[in-house]
């Protein structure tokens, strides 16, 4: 991680006020764009990334070399068509791919580490709105996001209602549940229990809290899949062996898979960023920001909304999407909602799904 980002970086010219009351000075937002901005700036589509995502939406990741995380959805002739739209994806603040985060250098010349202010989803969106200002985009044609990206889309719609004409929220929620917080706390504790974490001051050290971060990723990864999906993919099959070894190697295929996911993740992600971003998600509750009533958050909105859930997603289940839809109905907003069927749980939004493609295309067009 911390390879030189190849993205464009926007330096926010003003101090960024945060929900905590602190301010972030000289904040940087790294971003990628695809397509061409129309002269009247009317064709901009903002795609917001998820917890461990980044701005490499439809272009290769500079560290892993893998294709962009939503390349099947964004590109020329794709559902989000870069021949028509100017698509922006920005790394959220708190992350580690070029935007300001705990690994960034503080004004005193040292990495922030745990001195980085605790941020919220709304703070992430504040950073992105500053970027939109810098790009001269007053109103987005659409804002689109899955999972934590959907939270940002909802936060933008609730707090900057004039900034987006269409709001597409996939496999997401308007609040983090106790179960969501609980899983995140497991991940954070795994990182903080790693001796190499060293209270977050590991940037100058050769030892990084990779073991803790890998365990955090392994636990979280389970929540992104479905039981049926895991059973289908791995069952109880053993990895590279004929019989049980009566030991603690990764004997089952599912163990081997999780270990691979965990170690791969540590190569591209900063452990402190994982702490900060999961905390931001746990704080997320749009109703709380708006007098305890979710419908108030969207009162008077002129935007069109589309909410999509997946029937096997137990991380942000359909009930959470319905909760948002009911609030939007109560607010009189133009809203569509569909629960799509897919076997792969929460991660379904990233995978092949013809119906999702058609919904996204029809709504964003």
């Amino acid at each position: 991680m911390n390879a030189a980002p190849i993205s464009q970086v926007y330096a926010i010219p003003h101090a960024l006020p945060l929900d905590s009351g602190q301010v972030l000075v000289r904040a940087a937002i790294a971003y990628e764009t695809y397509g061409t901005l129309a002269p009247d700036a009317s064709n901009a589509v903002l795609v917001c990334h998820a917890l461990t995502g980044d701005q490499y939406l439809a272009s290769p990741h500079p560290i892993t070399g893998k294709p962009g995380w939503w390349e099947r959805m964004v590109g020329p002739g794709k559902p989000i068509d870069t021949n028509r739209h100017f698509v922006i994806c920005a790394n959220v603040i708190g992350s580690c791919m070029g935007s300001s985060g705990p690994a960034s250098i503080a004004p005193d010349g040292e990495p922030y580490a745990m001195r980085f202010p605790v941020i919220t989803i709304r703070d992430m969106v504040r950073g992105i709105v500053a970027l939109l200002d810098g790009l001269g985009i007053a109103k987005l044609h659409a804002v689109v996001g899955g999972s934590m990206g959907g939270m940002q889309a909802l936060s933008l719609a609730a707090n900057w209602p004039e900034r987006a004409a269409r709001v597409l929220v996939i496999a997401s929620t308007a609040r983090h549940s106790a179960q969501n917080i609980a899983f995140h706390e497991v991940g954070r504790q795994a990182i903080m229990a790693d001796p190499a974490w060293a209270e977050g001051n590991y940037y100058a050290s050769d030892a990084k809290p990779d073991n803790g971060l890998a365990v955090a990723r392994m636990a979280a990864h389970i929540t992104y899949l479905s039981e049926a999906g895991l059973t289908e993919k791995f069952g109880r099959r053993l990895q590279d062996r004929e019989a049980k070894g009566f030991g603690f190697d990764a004997e089952f295929q599912v163990e081997s898979y999780l270990r691979y996911q965990g170690s791969g993740f540590t190569r591209r992600f900063d452990a402190n960023s994982y702490l900060y971003i999961t905390r931001a998600m746990d704080y997320f509750d749009i109703a709380e920001e708006h007098g305890g009533r979710l419908a108030n958050a969207f009162a008077g909105t002129q935007a069109r909304f589309c909410i999509v859930s997946f029937d096997t997603d137990w991380l942000y289940p359909t009930a959470e999407s319905r909760h948002v839809v009911h609030a939007l109905n109560a607010a009189g907003a133009k809203v569509s909602f569909v629960e799509l069927s897919a076997p792969h749980g929460h991660d379904s939004f990233l995978l092949e799904h013809d119906q999702l493609d058609r919904v996204v295309k029809g709504f964003v067009e």
């Binding site: 069109r304 589309c306 319905r322 839809v325 009911h326 109905n329 109560a330 009189g332 133009k334 809203v335 569509s336 909602f337 569909v338 629960e339 799509l340 069927s341 119906q355 058609r358 919904v359 295309k361 029809g362 709504f363 067009e365």
Partner: protein, 200 residues
């Protein structure tokens, strides 16, 4: 009489022709969105839909309509009072768990309501039951008793009585047989389908 409107089903065409232009409309059980599309394109309405079948919702959203996948038995409760100028329930009443409660909700969320349904007292239905001794399978009710979604069959007279019990005013009514509009006399015998416009 109702002027013919594009390719809509006759009951939907009757509704489309009598929704005031520019109205806010909720179409409950909107199917593939044919009526909504017509109301938006021709009458400049702000149309919203509710549909139980996810595949149909996907088709609506793909064509740019605002449709929520939901169950009218449960999800109407979330709309504020008189949120719409019209609430429309086309050929869905007879599938409701409690048609009487749905009618209450229609008249709560809409200033006016359109309700269309197949008339179980049509002479073909009566004849099928009387002479065949079996649950009717007719043009208007083409599905066998064991797989039909129509769990609360209703007649024109039943509906008039329900409206009266609910304190609803029948503003207008249209009746159809053989895909054509017919007059009101003896509609309970002659109509395959009925459309009522209600207020309360």
């Amino acid at each position: 009489m109702t002027p013919p409107t594009s390719q809509l089903r006759p009951d939907l065409a009757a509704i489309a022709a009598h929704v005031a232009p520019g109205s806010r409309v909720l179409d409950i059980g909107c199917g593939d969105g044919a009526l909504m599309a017509e109301l938006e394109a021709v009458s400049g309405c702000d149309a919203r839909g509710m549909e139980l079948d996810g595949a149909l919702v996907e088709r609506c959203v793909s064509r740019g309509l605002s449709v929520v996948q939901g169950d009218a038995n449960l999800d109407l409760a979330n709309y504020p009072d008189k949120a719409f100028d019209y609430a429309i329930l086309s050929q869905t009443l007879q599938t409701a768990t409690r048609p009487d409660l749905i009618l209450d909700e229609l008249l709560r969320v809409g200033r006016r309501a359109f309700v269309s349904f197949p008339n179980f007292a049509h002479w073909r239905t009566r004849a099928a039951l009387m002479f065949g001794g079996r649950m009717p399978v007719t043009r208007a009710l083409p599905v066998s008793w064991y797989e039909t979604e129509n769990i609360h069959h209703v007649t024109v007279e039943d509906f008039r009585e329900l409206a009266r019990m609910k304190g609803a005013t029948i503003e207008r009514a249209w009746f159809f047989a053989n895909e054509k509009q017919i007059g009101a006399p003896a509609a309970n015998w002659r109509a395959e389908f009925a459309v009522f416009e209600l207020s309360r």
